[in-house]
Each structure stands twice: as structure tokens, then as C-alpha cells.
Symmetry: C2
Subunit: 176 residues, 2 copies
């Protein structure tokens, strides 16, 4: 345990809040924790009947590269993760989930953010039209499941939520 002593809010932005907390550890040591407060995210692993996975290819400024990911987005304030998952799925890929199942929740990087990413599986959907934000440029691609595994193996897919969603799906399938 670490007991909260004091807080300094450094920044309160559109995506994240940064807080500097002073805490007392169980052994009495006083420490500081730089913590990103984030509303959480929701991601959708969509797999078609013929075992293709719907990924998006998106330029990510932080890494200065285009990366492959499952469709996902940030929870709006107070939004239910399931609603967020459906909304982001439609906005980013133009697909509407007809059957959606909870997979798991992950902690992306537990040292400095409180973000939780809620992961869902969609196997039934209908096709509509994407309508992403004006500062997003997103390309949807269908990739064979075995090729997705190969892309993870080779490091072409690096995004943690995408890898975790696949791992979670495989474990679920093995248990059914």
C-alpha cells in the first residue's frame, strides 16, 4: 500500500491529466508518483466468419509511424465501456456490431497511468460508413487471422491492446 499525502495537478488537458502525488510507502518512505489520469479506452477485436481480423492502420504522432491496431478509442466522461466500444467501432471502421462479447480488461503500462482498456470481441456485424474525427486518418484492413499471428511474431504488430486482444481470444477459444 501507499498512502496519499498530497497532490499537485500539473496539467488538465483534452486527453489526459497529469498529477504529482506525494505518498507514504508501507515502510515509511515518502515518495512522489507522477500519474497520468485517463478516462480509459475500449477496443474491438472483430473477426469475420472466414477468420479475417479487422485492423486499422493509423499514423500515431507519439511514435511518428503508422501502426496496426484493433479499432479503439477513449471513453467519454462517464461513458460505459461497451457503448464506447460500439461507438468507436462504427466511427473508425464503419461497421456496426451485431454481437459483442466482453473479452478482458488490460492495464497498458502500470507505472504511470491509470488507463484501463476494455476489450471486446465482435463476430457479427453489418457494414455502414466510417465517420472519424477530422484530425484522424484511418484506413481499415482485413487480415487473415494466421497472418495477424505472424505479424505479432515478427513485430509488425506492436500495439499492446491488439496483441492482448488476440491472446485473450485464443485463450477463450481454447476453453470453449
Amino acid at each position: 500500500m501507499e498512502t496519499f499525502l498530497n497532490r499537485q495537478t500539473i496539467y488538465n488537458g483534452r486527453i489526459l491529466k497529469l498529477e504529482l502525488d506525494q505518498v507514504k510507502c508501507d515502510n515509511g518512505v515518502i515518495a512522489y508518483r507522477e500519474i497520468i489520469r485517463h478516462s480509459g479506452g475500449a477496443g474491438i477485436l472483430c473477426i469475420s466468419e472466414d477468420q479475417k481480423v479487422l485492423l486499422i492502420k493509423q499514423f500515431r504522432y507519439a511514435y511518428n509511424e503508422e501502426i496496426y491496431e484493433i479499432p479503439a478509442g477513449k471513453l467519454e466522461k462517464g461513458e460505459d465501456p461497451l457503448d464506447s466500444a460500439k461507438r468507436e467501432f462504427e466511427e473508425e471502421t464503419g461497421h456496426i456490431a451485431e454481437e459483442i462479447k466482453y473479452l478482458t480488461t488490460i492495464y497498458p503500462t502500470c507505472g504511470y497511468t491509470d488507463e484501463k482498456i476494455y476489450l471486446y470481441l465482435v463476430t457479427k456485424f453489418k457494414v455502414s460508413k466510417p465517420h472519424f474525427d477530422e484530425d484522424e486518418m484511418i484506413e481499415s484492413v482485413w487480415i487473415d487471422f494466421k497472418d495477424v499471428l505472424d505479424m505479432i511474431h515478427k513485430g509488425t504488430i506492436k500495439d499492446a491492446k491488439t496483441i492482448c486482444a488476440i491472446q485473450s481470444y485464443l485463450l477463450m477459444r481454447n476453453c470453449e
Copy 2:
């Protein structure tokens, strides 16, 4: 692509730096990106001959809970990820890697951080003594590989780098 226009450094701390960048998207839209700059991390999946995994149990302030993770830590400035992996492995668990193999690199949450986590596999090691920081309280546990899979399946293991390391190891093993 997004072209850098302007930067405001909001905070420069011990663990992370927060920058607010103004960028120009390919479609001409001007946007702002809140980006955490982080030196990166290194994690070690250690599996014993009898198929047990060495995990640590650590209180994580951001989530206000104890979580299971592979041993891992932050890269020192300019440090090689492999050196960091060996160092953190010894500091956190008191084990010294005798054979270490690169697994993969993951991007934990690509919307707002540039952190890369480098993952390694250790299957040969010798036992020494842990010596973690005074504000860290870390417990090492050996868990059967099949139980680790079960813990991921049930959501007891939520840490993304841990799940990704397991996924990467399984894919590597299947390809050998």
C-alpha cells in the same frame, strides 16, 4: 503523417516528460497532441525448466492495487534495453540471467505515450539477492505456466507487457 509545428513542454519529471505539440495533419487540419515522452522500459519473461514463470507482485499506485507482472523497469538515459532488462531482473527478483533472448517490442498505449517496452526471455539463470529501490515493495512468485494462462484468461493478470510477453513466447515456441 502529421507535421510538427510548435511545442510547449508542460512538465519534465523523474519518470516522464509531458509535451503539448501543435501539428498539421495531411488534410491541412491543425491539431494538438498531448504526448508523454518516456525513456522506454524492459521486461523479462523468465521460465524455469519445469515450466514455471517468475512473476512479481507489486502495489501500483496508479491503480491502487497489487498487480502481477513480469519483472521490468525503466531504461536509464542512454541505456541499452538488454542491459536494462538484466539489471531490472536482478534488482527486482534477485536472479541473474545466464541466457537471455530478445522476444519483441511493444507499444503499450499508442495514443499519448512514446514508451517502447522491450521484452526478453530468460530460461537459464542463477539465484542471487534482490535489491530494489527503497520506495518499491516487490514480492517474487513462481507460477505454473498453465496457471499463468488461466490468470490471463480470467483477468487476474491485467498487465499488458506480461500478456504480450506470454503471447510472443507462445508464438516463438510454435515456430521453433
